[in-house]
């Protein structure tokens, strides 16, 4: 739908400009030729430079002259990724590396791909990436790999396991199972429950929902109403949960698989006057969610350990750069935090700044 709207919009200016453009066509061609020639000259100069004269300052005497790492989180400004960045930066500094972070405005393959290809041009020694789609990012990440850049996946992963050297992630399926157990506990093993998921095709959240579905089946007293996708928009999450409350007013619990869905669900429940009555289990522990847990809008949070993911990701990528063996698969622990034990678990709360 969105593409259709933007297309019909873009037709209009083009039509009014068309006539004027035709008049200038001849002059433009000449300018265009000059530009192409200039670009070719630059390109030739660039290629020549790197091929013959340009030597790295170290001259190859110390093994890894390139000490640059890049972290490519899935989206800007999520406390989860900021905490990961903090952990990664700390570890990189300790190992004597430089870590730069570049994130897209949205969790969207179309926005992350140009960032990946942009990073490719800067030739860092290693890249830590949270791919925003398990298939769409395979190509650009393969380009990184083919350029000799060491690639380690953090948080999310590709379906194709041959691209990255190592994957450091939360055991999301176990997180989903933990959520199901927490839900069952909260509702006393009886009642209707549902899942609010983000976008279909996101490996982490799909794994959480899968783990939840598998575990909830072990609780015969609980009726599972299935999942709804929210496009990762809080407003859609609010819409869907109030709609579900219309059809099933006796809804007992909701498992929201990430931050935006959780916030939308909390708003929808509050709107419906069902806060606390419908148990909301969120995923992640960003400051807002921790506040909501404290205030009772959320009954429990399933927290990951992003700082550890970042630290271990850096460890792995540095090991690869320095020619030491890497571990293909690392899974970090998740933990369920309820209102009662939240103060004891404050080390798991996510940060908004390092």
């Amino acid at each position: 739908m969105s593409e259709r709207a933007s297309e019909s919009v873009s037709q209009r200016p083009a039509r009014s400009v068309g006539r004027a453009q035709r008049g200038r066509a001849i002059r433009r061609t000449r300018v265009g030729t000059a530009a192409v020639a200039a670009a070719l000259a630059l390109l030739a100069a660039g290629c020549g430079g790197s091929g013959t004269i340009g030597q790295s300052p170290g001259g190859g005497s110390e093994p890894p002259a390139n000490k640059n790492l890049v972290l490519l989180p899935g989206v800007k400004a999520e406390p989860f990724y900021i905490s990961m960045q903090c952990g990664a930066q700390e570890e990189a500094a300790k190992l004597g590396y430089q870590l730069d972070t570049q994130a897209p405005d949205q969790f969207e393959a179309a926005l992350q791909t140009p960032i990946v290809t942009g990073v490719l041009a800067t030739r860092p020694a290693g890249v830590l990436i949270a791919p925003t789609d398990d298939v769409a990012l395979a190509n650009p990440m393969t380009q990184l790999k083919d350029a000799g850049i060491k690639v380690v996946e953090v948080d999310t992963r590709l379906q194709d396991e041959s691209v990255a050297l190592s994957t450091v992630s939360s055991n999301n399926e176990q997180g989903g199972r933990l959520a199901a157990q927490t839900v069952a506990q909260l509702v006393g093993d009886t009642g209707k429950v549902m899942v609010l998921n983000t976008k279909a095709g996101t490996s982490t959240t799909d794994a959480r929902a899968k783990g939840f579905e598998e575990e909830i089946a072990n609780h015969p007293g609980i009726t599972y109403l299935g999942q709804e996708y929210t496009d990762n928009q809080p407003s859609v999450a609010a819409q869907k949960i109030t709609a579900k409350l219309s059809s099933d007013p006796d809804l007992a619990a909701v498992f929201a698989t990430n931050l935006n869905t959780g916030e939308g669900a909390a708003t929808g429940l509050r709107n419906a006057g069902k806060t606390g009555q419908v148990r909301l289990v969120g995923f992640d522990a960003s400051p807002n969610q921790v506040e909501d847990l404290r205030a009772g809008e959320v009954s429990a949070l399933i927290a990951q350990d992003p700082a550890t993911i970042g630290r271990q990701g850096v460890e792995q990528v540095v090991a690869a750069i320095e020619g030491r063996p890497v571990q293909r698969e690392i899974q970090t622990d998740l933990i369920a935090i309820t209102q009662a034990d939240m103060d004891a678990n404050s080390q798991y709360f996510y940060k908004t700044a390092c």
């Binding site: 709207a5 200016p13 949205q106 819409q239 935006n260 709107n271």
Partner: protein, 339 residues
């Protein structure tokens, strides 16, 4: 639309005029959808609860779409509304935080009102910049607002370091976000006031007539003595102000600035306006149509979840209804114009 009807033959009956109104058939689609869902789930769909939540959830988009109606009638477009919404919310939230020394949760009504002023100012400034660039610098509105779409979001992230502002005054959340008087949620009342004011401004005042005139033929409007540039600046500033208000409402509703959650607001607003019978080529449109256009997707989303439609069908069906409704409207118009 209304303008063209003025010249219609007087012998047409009221029923004929009604059937000829551009919004009539679209409104019928909305009614039909409501009836359909009510028949499928009589216990769940036609309830006060569904109505209330439906209205609240559409309030923010409605305010954006009313402003968008004016812009599209001038044959313009504003892609920046969602980002300006986020920017205004961020400005208001950080301003309220700074007024109350870091944590605005316990702030009073005075601080909230100042926050509202900040939100309106934040939105109005972006609108003014858009308007000046469109009307004075003569850059196509698509490009201008595509620029401010990115810039406003970036500015919001600069102000907050990209992290959502979370301490929103409780007075604001309980008063506007979740408050209601006699079953009428305050969010809905505010959106209704904005909509009625928009309809009044567009359909009964000189400002509205000029908006239609500029969109129909800017050159003719200029020769008729209408200050076209000044009018465009005012229209874009207006939509900026409304985006600012929408940002404040969103803040009250979500209790956080939801920086990453408004990337498709612009397209939703444009789709609603076009669905409501406003022409993308300008000169034609109604606020009432826009209201219908906002509610058709909202009713579909809600109805599908209540009825339990398999969820990957939902976006397919919503998009199909959007395209079909506009196509239907086009066919009807063409057959009328041939007469």
């Amino acid at each position: 639309m209304i303008d063209t009807e003025v010249g219609a033959p007087a012998q047409r009956t009221a029923a004929q005029r009604l059937a000829g109104a551009s919004t009539f058939w679209i409104a019928l689609v909305l009614v039909a959808l409501c009836v359909l869902f009510s028949v499928l789930r009589p216990d769940a769909f036609p309830t006060l609860f569904t109505l209330q939540t439906l209205l609240i959830e559409a309030s923010v988009l409605l305010v954006l779409a009313v402003g968008m109606t004016f812009v599209i009638i001038t044959a313009g477009i504003d892609l920046s509304v969602g980002s300006v919404l986020v920017f205004s919310g961020v400005v208001a939230a950080t301003f309220m935080e700074s007024l109350s020394g870091g944590d605005a949760s316990g702030a009073g009504v005075g601080v909230v009102l100042l926050g509202l002023v900040a939100a309106l100012a934040g939105g109005g400034v972006w609108g003014l910049v858009n308007g000046l660039l469109v009307a004075r610098a003569r850059i196509p509105p698509l490009i201008v607002t595509l620029g401010s779409f990115g810039a406003a979001l970036g500015a919001a992230q600069l102000i907050t370091d990209g992290v959502d502002v979370r301490t929103v005054p409780r007075v604001l959340r309980d008063g506007l976000g979740f408050g209601q008087t006699g079953q009428v949620p305050h969010m809905v009342a505010l959106a209704a006031v904005v909509t009625l004011a928009g309809a009044w401004l567009l359909h009964t005042t000189r400002f509205g007539r000029r908006t239609f005139a500029v969109g129909s033929n800017a050159e003719a409007a200029r020769r008729a003595g209408i200050p076209v540039r000044g009018h465009l600046v005012r229209v874009y500033t207006g939509v900026g102000l409304l985006s600012g208000l929408a940002g404040f409402m969103s803040l009250a509703y979500f209790g956080t600035t939801t920086i990453s959650g408004h990337s498709t607001d612009n397209l939703n607003a444009i789709a609603a306006v076009v669905l409501g019978g406003t022409s993308l080529f300008g000169g034609v449109g109604t606020v009432f149509g826009t209201v219908i256009g906002v509610f058709i997707p909202a009713v579909l989303t809600k109805g599908f979840v209540i009825v339990g439609v398999q969820q990957f069908w939902q976006p397919v069906a919503i998009s199909a209804v959007l395209v079909a409704a506009v196509w239907f409207d086009q066919v009807r118009r063409r057959s009328r114009d041939r007469r």
